[in-house]
């Protein structure tokens, strides 16, 4: 084994730093499609389970009840050389799964909010959530065939976005398009980082 000399994990081999990006938006807006388009692996699915830490006001008595509330999330990865690896998580659509959102958003570099002009209201909860939490985000309008074409300024107005929130058109099926959205997001997050704001 390559790591034969390591003992008790005290001297671990060099590992990349993991970075989390979120893809949010309403049900059926193309989150998993976008994850799949840019990921180097086929999108995987993981499940989070509602446990003690997330039980606040809900009265869930007994382990049986805890064990039955699971939320599935699709995710992909993009390796950036040897040093970094990006994980893209599609956020669960239902708002009752805020506890998973909180965990996903913790430490996330930023988020893409995917919007569909036919059902613009579906992305309101995501926009509200990231605004409230202070997570840098961009809005990407997924261009579905047959969807009405709006001027991006109109969409921005309808979403009541702050002037500095980037908004763009995209095609979630296309790798190149997804890539451009992610680049825009990372640039935006860079400008929003706390040190940048302080200067």
């Amino acid at each position: 084994m390559a790591f034969a000399r390591s003992d008790s994990g005290k001297n671990p081999p060099k590992m990349p730093t993991a970075i989390k990006l979120l893809i949010a938006g309403g049900f059926g807006v193309g989150k998993t499609t976008m994850v799949g388009a840019v990921s180097e692996i086929r999108p995987l699915r993981t499940e989070e389970t509602l446990t003690d830490r997330s039980v606040g006001v809900d009265d869930l008595s007994g382990v049986e009840a805890k064990a039955t509330t699971t939320v599935a999330m699709d995710f992909g990865r993009i390796s950036i050389g040897q040093d970094f690896v990006l994980y893209l998580f599609g956020t669960p659509g239902q708002e009752r799964f805020w506890f998973v959102w909180d965990e996903l958003a913790r430490g996330a570099l930023g988020a893409v909010v995917l919007a569909d002009t036919r059902r613009l209201a579906d992305c309101f909860p995501s926009v509200d959530y990231f605004e409230r939490r202070g997570t840098p985000f961009v809005v990407a309008v997924n261009c579905f065939e047959g969807a009405p074409v709006f001027d991006l300024d109109e969409v921005k107005l309808a979403l009541n976005l702050g002037p500095d929130v980037p908004i763009m058109l995209c095609d979630a099926r296309r790798r190149e398009s997804g890539k451009e959205v992610l680049i825009e997001l990372v640039k935006h997050a860079y400008g929003k980082r706390p040190t940048a704001a302080a200067h």
Binding site: T17, V38, T46, V63, T70, I183
Partner: protein, 124 residues
């Protein structure tokens, strides 16, 4: 124990749901220890008959010959992420795996990181 058989309780013992919690022996306290994107890598292979290691532990040790996130391990082994955290905690404590935590939020300021990520994305 002379608890009487209770049909309501019986109904809740749904095998596919309960089994992961048997693997973790009911423990959930390790859940906050690792993030979904904490990376694990095997630093000491198991010899095949390690005391106290379940097949699921062994599967993680085999899987993590290259660094994998908690989320990936969970997806590959078809286990809830919470259970993988518990099992990974066992393996970490016994020195089978090294775990790298993701960059904490306050440190996501590193200019070098943004530059590397942007360059990497552009080169995709």
């Amino acid at each position: 124990m002379n608890t009487e058989w209770n049909p309501d309780e019986e109904r809740l013992l749904d095998a596919p749901t309960i089994r992961p919690y048997v693997i973790a022996r009911g423990r959930t306290e390790a859940q906050d220890r690792f993030d979904l994107i904490s990376l694990a890598v095997t630093v000491r292979p198991t010899t095949g008959a390690e005391i106290g290691l379940d097949p699921e532990h062994q599967a993680i040790v085999r899987l993590c010959r290259r660094p994998l996130s908690v989320a990936e391990i969970a997806a590959h082994l078809d286990l809830p992420a919470g259970i993988v955290r518990v099992l990974l905690g066992d393996l970490f404590d016994r020195g089978f795996v090294a775990v790298q935590q993701p960059q904490p939020e306050m440190n996501v300021l590193d200019e070098r990181m943004y530059k590397a990520v942007l360059d990497g994305l552009r080169a995709l």
